[in-house]
């Protein structure tokens, strides 16, 4: 397509898009900016560069505990959600069966439900069953909201996957398990890695479910929520936020690269064998 619409020699649509992207990035980029600012209140003009808020974080045991909890919850949720996602994505792309659409609808439902509803529903059930609230209950909640994203990523990776390769493997005498391990798995690994990273990132940043479902242990967002009441702690929170931001960015870039690799593999029918 040609360039955008011009009026008075200016491409207004492009200008609007640039402004919109600036609007999207403004709050995200302010966090790192103020986290290096040598002032207890986040406002302009900046008063000087400092690492002290980051150093302060390392001397906060509660923060380190929360970080450890978040990592544990994230890893557990990512692995569980991806395992469940693999089952559903494979069933969705490889098989046709009655009730498929309805089942998929329920699995994807957390995407269009207010999170507070999911949170209170799970909380109510846990309390009625007399289960102790802990990091485990947080993991269960996180798996629920990670699965739809995991399924979406995995379906994209499994789709366009050439089944004749699996058939060829079976014809050549491989067992179903062997075919899966030696043919299917290598083809879908990029999508699986991508799903793991996306799920981990979602779990790392999730607040509402963790806030409702955790017991005495807090995850990073729950810890941050507790800190927000104290104005003096704000710079430390900004520093922590910056670290989480950089971490999310790195994980998602890797996930995106893997996703593209998965898409490319799916497109070259049969890959190097063809």
């Amino acid at each position: 397509m040609t360039t955008g619409r011009r009026f008075l020699g200016v491409n207004w649509l492009a200008v609007y898009v640039a402004l919109y992207v600036a609007f999207l990035y403004l709050p995200v980029l302010l966090l790192p900016l103020f986290s290096f600012n040598d002032s207890a209140t986040p406002n302009f003009p900046l008063s000087g560069f400092t690492w002290k808020w980051y150093e302060g974080l390392l001397a906060t045991p509660a923060m380190l505990d929360a970080a450890r909890n978040s990592a544990l919850v994230g890893v557990a949720a990512a692995i569980t959600a991806t395992l469940l996602g693999i089952c559903a994505a494979r069933a969705m792309t490889r098989y046709r069966f009655r009730g498929q659409k309805a089942m998929n609808g329920l699995i994807m439902a957390p995407l269009v439900l207010p999170e507070i509803i999911i949170a209170v529903a799970l909380l109510l059930v846990m309390l009625r069953l007399g289960l102790e609230l802990s990091l485990l209950t947080v993991v269960l909640g996180h798996v629920l909201i990670c699965v739809p994203y995991s399924v979406t990523v995995l379906i994209a990776g499994f789709e366009g996957f050439d089944h004749s390769l699996e058939e060829a493997s079976a014809d050549l005498g491989e067992t179903a398990m062997g075919t899966f391990r030696r043919v299917t798995l290598p083809m879908v690994t990029p999508a699986i890695v991508s799903s793991l990273l996306v799920s981990f990132t979602i779990s790392l940043d999730e607040f509402i479910l963790a806030f409702f479902l955790t017991g005495t242990d807090s995850t990073l967002p729950v810890y941050i929520w507790g800190q927000l009441r104290f104005a003096a702690r704000l710079p430390g929170v900004l520093a922590l936020g910056t670290i989480m931001l950089v971490l999310s960015f790195i994980l998602l870039t890797i996930a995106e690269l893997y996703r593209r690799r998965a898409a490319r593999r799916a497109n070259v029918d049969g890959g190097p064998l063809a």
Binding site: L13, F23, A91, R96, V125, I224, L228
Partner: protein
């Protein structure tokens, strides 16, 4: 789509029926772990919430006799009614504003993105992946009395003294939520724009339609599904938002989620909290469906 083409293989000749029966069974078996998880962790808990909404609570004991009293309170008590109305108005405003602001962006990427399409899309999704809590807090820093916006406006001489009009009100909630849900509106609209057959647009040009008529009569109607998806994806979750109203909403910005939280935590009236949750879900579904219907009707009128 593979699903669509594979679906055409559904020919139930007697010879193939046996094959499809095992196919059916294998598919079901593979789907069941994920489905059962969703059933136990989502469908069942929501059923429990619905059941509780018809019961009453006396301190720690639940009285299981059927009553509509909780719904009466949820719908007629002024505090809950006002909170619900305000939440609905806010989530509708956010949904429409987000879609209107996002449409040109999705249009630009789809029609003028060229080979940078996927790069621009990735760049747009990054802010959405950063911690929601921190983004809301960042807006607090921007909109505050000594915030970035006031500093900038003072610096350029547009205002003489810092304004308190930006933070702790409905507008702050609107801005923050419009920012938070931007990507969820851009992506569905982008997908539907990608599906628009470019030859139709060219045909409209050849037949003498100007750019605006061409957009209104060809492109816009064809992207209604994307707009509808974007509206629903934004409207339904935002009605129950908890963080944004609490951090930037002040007194005027309180939404229904805070009331639900109180009933489940401090207030400890689970049945009332359950009734508030169910009411919110039902009302937002009705509102979303009627907005979509209205939009489709309006789109039909344009042509």
């Amino acid at each position: 789509m593979t699903i669509a083409t594979e679906g055409q293989g559904w020919v139930a000749t007697p010879a193939r029926r046996g094959f499809f029966r095992t196919e059916q069974r294998q598919g079901l078996a593979l789907m069941s772990p994920t489905f059962l998880f969703a059933l136990v962790m989502l469908a069942a808990p929501i059923m429990v919430v619905i059941a509780h909404s018809f019961w009453t609570q006396n301190y720690l004991t639940i009285d299981r006799s059927f009553t509509l009293e909780n719904y009466r309170i949820a719908l007629t008590e002024p505090i809950y009614r006002d909170l619900l109305m305000r939440s609905l108005a806010l989530s509708m405003s956010v949904a429409f504003l987000t879609v209107i602001l996002a449409y040109p962006v999705a249009y630009y990427i789809s029609f003028h993105g060229g080979r940078y399409k996927s790069l621009i899309l990735f760049l747009i999704t990054i802010p959405a992946w950063t911690s929601y809590l921190l983004r809301v807090m960042s807006w607090k820093v921007i909109l505050g009395y000594k915030g970035v916006l006031n500093t900038a406006l003072l610096g350029t001489g547009i205002i003489d003294e810092p304004s308190t009009a930006f933070l702790y009100n409905t507008n702050a909630v609107l801005i923050t939520l419009t920012h938070a849900w931007a990507v969820f509106a851009i992506l569905p609209i982008y997908v539907s724009l990608e599906k628009v057959d470019r030859t139709l647009v060219e045909a409209a040009t050849d037949l003498g339609d100007g750019p605006i008529r061409r957009f209104l009569r060809v492109t816009l109607p064809l992207t209604i599904p994307g707009i509808v998806a974007a509206l629903i994806i934004v409207m339904i979750p935002t009605v129950g938002d908890y963080v944004t109203p609490r951090l930037v909403g002040g007194k005027d910005g309180v939404m229904i989620a805070s009331a639900i939280e109180v009933q489940f935590k401090k207030g400890a009236n689970w049945p009332l909290g359950a009734a508030l949750s169910v009411t919110t879900m039902i009302v937002i579904t009705i509102v979303a469906i009627s907005s979509v219907g209205l939009l489709r009707w309006a789109a039909g009128r344009i042509r």
